[in-house]
Assembly symmetry: C3
Homo-oligomer: 418 residues x 3
């Protein structure tokens, strides 16, 4: 996975353009089910409009000696996303109106965009800005806007039913590791693993430009999404090695919330829980009133909450193979849990006779029943109104241990699925 991250990290991405397409092509080499979709510039999507396609060819600041002070080829964050073309000489003082820094973090380059207002701008560290001597500077941006299209990727792995688990990530951020090459890499590998499995759930993976991409996708597919999606996860910032984070859906009680909490609680109990007030990625669209899809957010270090976020410090060194692999394992567990998460009901009135089925000791003496207690408790509570996660919490038994008990009982025809 880290190899894939290294491959797509150097590509310049924005919400439209060749960088997105190139990124998706590389992901498609890993997972051939990935399909690339285009939507024409100017298309109305709810309250928004797909912007013109933006191409950036060159962008630098040159001093009077012809030395390039900064060049966007050195670090993609040096250019403000969607900058207009520019070719001017300015004084040291005028330069400040074109340059963005992160004053509270003087040694990093911030990530800045201006998608919906015409601007031309550069980003650099506050330190570098302060160090610039008096003099004139040549600001040069060779960019172009044209009627093209916005691009996204989609993988669909059909299951036995149309009921869906949906994973969504972004492919519009340039030059950052955790936010955002970790998300597409982990989801591509998740798709590769799940390709080989038989599943009840159809799994869908979306690789979208943030905000405009999810709005565009929802505007096209809302009815189908509302009909099919049972649990959705925004997956972003999943490459570092720190604590996990969970951001609630608007209502906080969807199947997605419950599954993510269950798995984190059992596997990484020191995870941090955020309310929907701390939302910030495409869950803003999926959970919007009237859209009402069951999405929550899965991160390690959550966007907005770690210092390196949206700066040049969030580079390839901030993420790791181990970080992404562990995130992938958590996502696999979530899928596995959802596959097992049924409503079970006993098939027999009163307790079944477990002894003759080898599920209960045939000798009655105190202290001999402990190891069959999970099985007995499962049967005692399997009234068809609790799903596996609820049973796990009622019985204080890890959910996958309970899934095994369910399996045994199901094979003995002592429970049925409601």
């Amino acid at each position: 996975m880290y190899r894939l991250a290294k491959k797509i990290f150097p590509i310049y991405r924005s919400i439209t353009g060749e960088g997105v397409r190139e990124t998706l092509r590389i992901l498609a080499e890993e997972c051939p089910f990935l399909k690339i979709h285009e939507m024409l510039s100017g298309t109305k999507v709810f309250d928004w409009e797909v912007p013109k396609e933006w191409e950036i060819r060159e962008a630098y600041i040159e001093n009077e000696q012809g030395e390039k002070v900064i060049d966007f080829r050195q670090n993609h964050l040096h250019i403000v996303g969607y900058s207009q073309p520019l070719d001017v000489w300015v004084t040291r003082e005028e330069l400040q109106t074109y340059v963005y820094t992160q004053p509270d973090q003087p040694d990093v380059i911030p990530y800045v965009t201006s998608y919906y207002e015409k601007r031309s701008g550069f980003c650099m560290s506050q330190q570098m800005m302060r160090a610039l001597p008096e003099g004139n500077y040549h600001l040069y941006i060779d960019s172009a806007f044209y009627d093209g299209s916005m691009t996204w990727g989609e993988i669909v792995l059909p299951g036995q039913t149309e009921e869906e688990i949906c994973f969504s990530t972004n492919i519009c951020h340039p030059g950052m590791g955790n936010n955002e090459v970790s998300g597409p890499c982990v989801l591509t590998f998740l798709a590769k693993r799940l390709m080989q499995q038989d599943r009840r759930y159809t799994c869908r993976f979306l690789f979208l430009p943030e905000t405009i991409g999810s709005i565009a996708y929802i505007s096209r597919h809302l009815a189908q999404m509302q009909k099919n999606i049972r649990a959705g996860f925004v997956v972003t910032c999943v490459g570092d090695d720190r604590q996990y984070s969970y951001v609630s859906s608007r209502t906080g009680d969807t199947l997605a919330d419950r599954a993510l909490i269950q798995i984190l609680k059992e596997n990484c109990p020191d995870y941090v829980s955020y309310s929907y007030l701390q939302r910030g990625s495409d869950e803003r669209q999926y959970c919007a009133p009237g859209v009402d899809l069951p999405f929550c957010v899965f991160c390690r270090s959550k966007f907005h909450e770690y210092k390196e976020y949206h700066t040049s410090a969030d580079d390839l060194s901030f993420i790791s193979q181990e970080g992404m692999e562990h995130s992938l394992q958590i996502l696999l567990k979530i899928v596995q849990l959802l596959e097992y998460n049924r409503y079970y009901k006993t098939t027999i009135l009163c307790e079944p006779q477990l002894g003759r089925r080898g599920l209960y000791p045939t000798i009655g003496q105190k202290g001999t029943y402990d190891d069959v207690r999970v099985t007995q408790n499962f049967l005692a509570y399997a009234d068809g109104t609790h799903d596996l996660m609820e049973l796990s919490n009622l019985l204080h038994v890890p959910v996958m241990e309970l899934a095994q008990a369910a399996d045994r009982l199901y094979k003995k025809r002592l429970i049925k699925i409601v």
Copy 2:
């Protein structure tokens, strides 16, 4: 307001009689919308009957020297309310069967009534009683009972709808400041202020003899009250300078409870909360089973809970202009809150593009969104199922700040009222 309080304080009031009429006439001079209603003695009202009208002309205790030991003209609390006529000479010892004192507060005259059992009695401080020398005493009460009527006042300020906010207070207590001239004074001024406003809600103000007055009013208007009243407040003991008090409705979750709690929590967080078990004024009738009106109680020092309650110590010096004015401000805020308290729903699927409406920064850089967060959060939760108070609590934003955000969004047509 304090001037008005001084004007009505000296009038002798009981549950019927000229004192009530005189009081209401003075209030009507302040607020010309005040209408005076009469109900004939003997009228059946649910389980009760309107009592005969009672007139008290003279009441005193004289010693053998012809000196008046007490005279009800000096302090209205000296006479037991609804006393029968009396003209007897008694010994010092016999005197005790006619005189009520407050043994646990020896220096105050208690407030005592006997509306529904024939009695003749006087009240004095325990100290004064103890100091009386042996000898004979002349007890004289010149009172009269006759078929007259019971009187109450009512102000109705029509709003754009028939939905009502109702305020209820008492005008039957003689010679006490907080309980009870503060209530009628504050409500009269509240009506004066609200007269000048355009409102969605009709506002009704009731000035009633306690218990029998509210029972009589409800017996005549129950169906209409149940149809129209959205929030009702018993307003009493609102003239002192101490902490505010809230007494819950029977169910505790009416719009009235929620609005009063919201305003007290934000403006006077040290208010004291009482359960319906601590009820004691006309909420006993409004919240009775089968009546079920959404009333709670608003006080400063709550009846039964302050030492001066129902004694001569609750006089004009116990209340103040500042105390009443601040209570009035709280009530105005409650009306304002209720006017704003709608269920809002977004008009657009997914997030609207706030940038082009001037509601969002057009530059995307971390740390620039904080001041628009309230607006965004409002939209994110405006699903038509939460009213403004619930949103305020969900978003941790003061309710009137949220009302302003609602205003802005409503004008941009980004939300509608459900």
Copy 3:
């Protein structure tokens, strides 16, 4: 009661056989309404089958000197319940495969059964086992299995309605005091006391072999039980002097749970509360999914939780007349509470005039109302949606004190039963 316990303690009981019949005959001498029922061996009951009747005539271990090392006539726990006939000589070492001890309690004989797997076995204390010298031992069991029947007892005390309170206990445990002669003794005496009362509820008492007995009973009577039983109690281990225990029903909120908790909370507030996860007696059947009867469990020292449980230490000295009598008093209080536990509603709108009914002081002065507060509060909350137990908890008044207030108000026709 203790005399009765002493009488039935020495009878050898198992899930079938003469011991059960003899025990029930003795109970029937105390309470003539007790009826004895039989169900033929081999009868299918849900997932189970009524086992063959088992008769045990002799069982001992003899050493080479012809001395009886143990004899089941000395202590009924020496024989494994439902042992097959046996007549073999074994070495000291081979002996161990036939003998059960309780290693964590070396000085007691454990209670062991093997109802559904063919075994022949003896029980003795670990100490005695260790002390046995090398040598050969004669194991002799004279038992027989034949097609007979399983026996249970039932008392029905009809009430004014078919609505039922059901009490269930076991009569299948040999040689133990708390578990299990205390249960049948207390219930027999409970029936004797209730025989003399007029009741709304029909009371049913079941004396069953554990598990197979309740399953058999339910299999015959399920529809009727679901229709009539309003509250059911498994009564077991009620003879010792320690703290009371409550084991929740599966849902935890049945009328039975509420009544038992209410009475324990008010009378024995140090009782211990167990979840349905700690169940263990016939509530396993009554509360099974699809059976769904409102049963919880009432014990003093709860089965599985006290050291003496299922050993020879749970003998007649472990229980006492006082222990059983106090348990009986608690059960009587529960019946009394359920009889009173109605939904009450006021018959009059607004407060009734209590004064003219002698329920309220006719003089109005602060401090005079405290003793009528319970009556007033009852009326204030009697809206037909709270039963007596809920009112007790809302008003913070012991439930039987509230029952008296209800009585007074009912007689004055101020409340009705909903």
